[in-house]
């Protein structure tokens, strides 16, 4: 921790006092009044930020608050439209990532900036200004990665590597340039709890060595655990700075959102469990492409009245499982049973007519057609479900329009004008629409993949409450999610998917994060293989 750090609360516009009290001889980065516009949207509005040596500095905010935009300016990927950046006291113009790297700023991207078809060494070489000979580079990679407890094999092809190892490549890539500031954008979103612990050890070591870390996250427990200082953005402005160790997750959350977030109320009654609506019996499927995940004897009973959550880190077969249940991927008939009827080989329309509904992970491009209006997007999943949208060959645009109005009202979907194209909606609003479209049918079985990914807190709360309410009204709800907070909030039972194996679903009360983490890291496989 640098000296001269005082806990200060500032409102935007009054950055001067805070900055002065925090900046000093140990200051690495001093951003003053940064502005960035995209068309009409002001993504960053006069942002001030000070990062000192050896500090793990959290950048908090909801989706859309402007965090990624801000750090991209530090990394040279974007040009500021106003304001200035000082590095070690000197004004600098970070024109491109190479310039940032030269200054000593490194970045670990949220969605990784890796090249699948190339080797680990080639990937790292591309980020270094002077990679030198490949054989020397390979040696350096091995020694540095081992040294930090993140061993890598330089000759592996990235496409063959799991997500946790891929992040290591990003980190080692930064470390090889001996950075003074590392920016990490949502690093734990793809890690198991145990892998996250390993990452935190690495970060603490870096901080001790004097390297600063700018840590973007919306995972408040983590931020409390490892960060020394936090800057909170809302709607592109700095609204608070604080010491997260002295705050609670709830206070941090309300600073981020600006109001008390409606907490989701699991129904006070115990769930009334009915008969099994969806059964998966030894569901197995080969990987459709070399990059897909095979499903291995997945078994689950989903009963009326309950919410079952499948936890798992991305890339472990969630998409494939969703497709097998929805019918986009066909399997043997008796592997998927809906209300007692084997339907593994039936298509998605047949399953919808059995009153099942589905919400996929990708809302644009899968759940909805980006360039089509919302009313047309309703026809997408409901053209055969008895909603009077299609008579004979003809589509009733009038009825579609009526349904759009109804869904808009019930689910508080905000839009700039009537019946817009799907892609002009914000992430949260589109997700409300996509979920609302299915809930409007009052389905007996609902399968959702990543219900609140990339969605603002208000919309997320609404969606989660809607899922619980649906279950309590007698339907069966299956939620696949990477967000453990969400899972513990809404699920009655939890199962874990790992490498295409599913663990047995257990009541939430019997589960905790550590157990889930162990299952994510291979416990599910072990169970599955024994079963």
């Amino acid at each position: 921790m640098g000296d001269g750090v005082a806990e200060t609360e500032t409102m935007s516009g009054d950055g001067g006092a805070a900055r002065q009290s925090r900046s000093g001889k140990d200051t690495l980065l001093d951003a003053r009044g940064l502005i960035k516009r995209f068309g009409d949207i002001l993504a960053n509005d006069r942002v001030d930020l000070v990062i000192n040596k050896g500090e793990i500095h959290a950048l908090l905010g909801e989706n859309g608050a402007g965090k990624s935009t801000l750090v991209k300016m530090f990394y040279g990927s974007l040009e500021p439209d106003g304001g200035e950046i000082l590095w070690q006291g000197q004004r600098v113009d970070i024109g491109n990532p190479a310039a940032a790297r030269e200054l000593g700023i490194g970045m670990v991207f949220q969605h990784f900036s890796l090249f699948e078809a190339l080797t680990v060494a080639e990937n790292i070489a591309l980020a270094l200004p002077n990679p030198g000979r490949m054989s020397e580079l390979a040696n350096r990679i091995q020694s540095v990665s081992r040294d930090y407890g993140l061993p890598l094999n330089p000759d592996d092809i990235v496409a063959d590597l799991p997500v946790g190892i891929r992040q290591r490549i990003e980190i080692v890539r930064c470390l090889l340039q001996e950075p003074q500031l590392i920016i990490m954008d949502e690093p734990t979103s793809v890690l198991t709890p145990q892998e996250a612990d390993l990452l935190f050890l690495t970060l603490e070591r870096l901080a001790k060595e004097g390297c600063a870390v700018l840590y973007i996250s919306h995972r408040l427990e983590e931020v409390k655990r490892i960060c020394h200082h936090a800057t909170i953005l809302r709607h592109g402005q700095v609204v608070r700075e604080c010491d997260p160790t002295k705050e609670t997750p709830a206070s941090l959350a309300s600073m981020m959102v600006g109001a008390d977030v409606a907490s989701v109320s699991a129904s006070s009654q115990k769930p009334q469990i009915g008969e099994t609506r969806l059964a998966l019996k030894n569901l197995s499927a080969k990987a459709a492409t070399p990059f897909a995940t095979a499903l291995n004897k997945v078994s689950l009973d989903l009963r009326a009245g309950e919410v079952v959550a499948i936890a798992g880190v991305a890339g472990n077969g969630q998409g494939e499982l969703f497709d097998a249940i929805s019918g986009e991927m066909q399997v043997a008939a008796d592997m998927v049973v809906l209300d007692g009827k084997p339907c593994g080989n039936r298509n998605i329309t047949w399953r919808r007519r059995q009153n099942a509904a589905f919400v996929p992970e990708e809302r644009l491009g899968h759940g909805a057609v980006p360039g089509m209006k919302l009313s047309q997007n309703i026809v997408l999943t409901r053209h055969r479900t008895g909603d009077k949208l299609v008579s004979g060959f003809f589509v009733s645009n009038a009825n579609a329009g009526k349904m759009e109005q109804r869904i808009k009202k019930s689910f508080d979907v905000r839009m700039s004008h009537d019946d817009p194209e799907a892609r002009s909606l914000s992430g949260g609003n589109l997700q409300k629409f996509v979920v609302g479209r299915e809930l409007d049918r009052k389905p007996g079985v609902l399968i959702v993949n990543q219900p609140t990914w990339g969605v603002d807190a208000g919309a997320a709360a609404l969606i989660r409450q809607a899922l619980i309410d649906l279950a309590r009204s007698g339907s069966a709800v299956l939620v696949i999610s990477q967000d453990l907070d969400e899972i513990f909030e809404i699920a009655d039972r939890i199962a874990v998917i790992s490498r295409g194996y599913l663990s047995a679903a257990e009541p939430t009360a019997d589960m905790n994060r550590e157990r889930v983490g162990l299952l994510m890291a291979g416990g599910a496989e072990a169970q599955g293989e024994v079963a």
Binding site: L78, S113, A117, L126, A159
Partner: protein
């Protein structure tokens, strides 16, 4: 006799090889340029016209390269700066090229052409059989092989080649790391245009030294198929080009052997063979998925 056949195979294969190696580089950077046929035929007509007007085959060749590059620059502007649909724009390039070449070429129909001279290397060219085949070709045949080796070295042994491959693999990541995706792709597109133009020049100045309307007869399209066939690996392009070269001269030689097969059927063999080859390659899903540059044909708009 075998020697004569082999010589015709070489001349048939060379334009395919040159055009295909150029397009391979373009596709490795993530751009699909379907306009190879249009650029090739413009190279053919411009090369012929300039050689005819100036009396110099060499000037004709350089003019052809310039023509190919000019056309590819137009394509590059649309596809990389205006982000138009790559398939449609490539088609437009071909339609424009074929049309324009017809216009320019009208004045040159029926005029005897300038043939590029064969190189003569003392001693080596005199070796019976091997001499004429390996050491007495016109310069462009040697250029074609040099190109393949240069491209292979560039792509897999140089940093710039690594960067180019990375752009074709994941342009978002390449951009995030600070590489100028558009500039790299533009350079690749220009190189592809130069090669296509050169291949066209070979057609009108060495293969059949004259100008005939539509003389490339789909070779540009076959070159595109060759890139797929080669799984985007330069050395394999040689195999493909020579296989196709062999198939396309069957017609010529069948007549000498007096086979009673309609000449149209023999002429259609290269096209049927292309279809067959494409089916075989694409039927192996794993092979295609693993080797295809992941961003091939995908539009790229940087956020700045």
């Amino acid at each position: 006799m075998f020697e004569a056949v082999l010589l015709t195979v070489i001349t048939a294969a060379t334009p395919l090889l040159i055009a295909a190696i150029g397009e391979l580089v373009v596709e490795r950077s993530g751009v699909l340029n379907l306009g190879v046929e249009g650029m090739m035929i413009m190279g053919a007509v411009v090369g012929f016209a300039v050689a005819n007007q100036t009396g110099s085959g060499t000037l004709g060749v350089f003019a052809a390269i310039a023509a190919g590059m000019a056309m590819s620059a137009l394509f590059g502007f649309l596809v990389l700066v205006l982000v138009t649909n790559q398939v449609a724009t490539g088609l437009a390039l071909t339609i424009l090229g074929v049309g324009f070449s017809g216009l320019i070429g009208e004045a040159f129909i029926g005029i005897p052409g300038l043939k590029l001279p064969d190189l003569y290397i003392p001693v080596l060219s005199d070796i019976p059989f091997f001499g004429p085949v390996f050491f007495q070709q016109d310069a462009l045949v040697y250029v074609s092989f040099a190109l393949v080796i240069a491209v292979a070295y560039f792509l897999f042994r140089t940093r710039l080649g690594l960067v180019l491959r990375s752009v074709g693999d994941n342009h978002v990541s390449a951009h995030a790391l600070g590489y100028s995706v558009i500039r790299i792709r533009f350079a690749a597109v220009l190189f592809g245009g130069a090669c296509a133009g050169l291949a066209g020049a070979y057609m009108s100045l060495a293969y059949t030294p004259q100008w005939v309307e539509n003389m490339t007869a789909g070779r540009g399209w076959i070159a595109l198929a060759l890139v797929v066939f080669s799984s985007w690996l330069p050395l394999r392009v040689v195999i493909g080009a020579y296989l196709f070269g062999a198939v396309s001269v069957l017609n010529l030689h069948a007549q000498a052997v007096e086979l009673d097969i309609p000449s149209q059927l023999l002429s259609s063999l290269p096209y049927l063979a292309t279809i067959l080859v494409l089916v075989l390659i694409s039927a192996n899903r794993r092979l295609t998925l693993v080797n295809t540059p992941a961003c091939l044909g995908k539009p790229f708009v940087p956020d700045r």
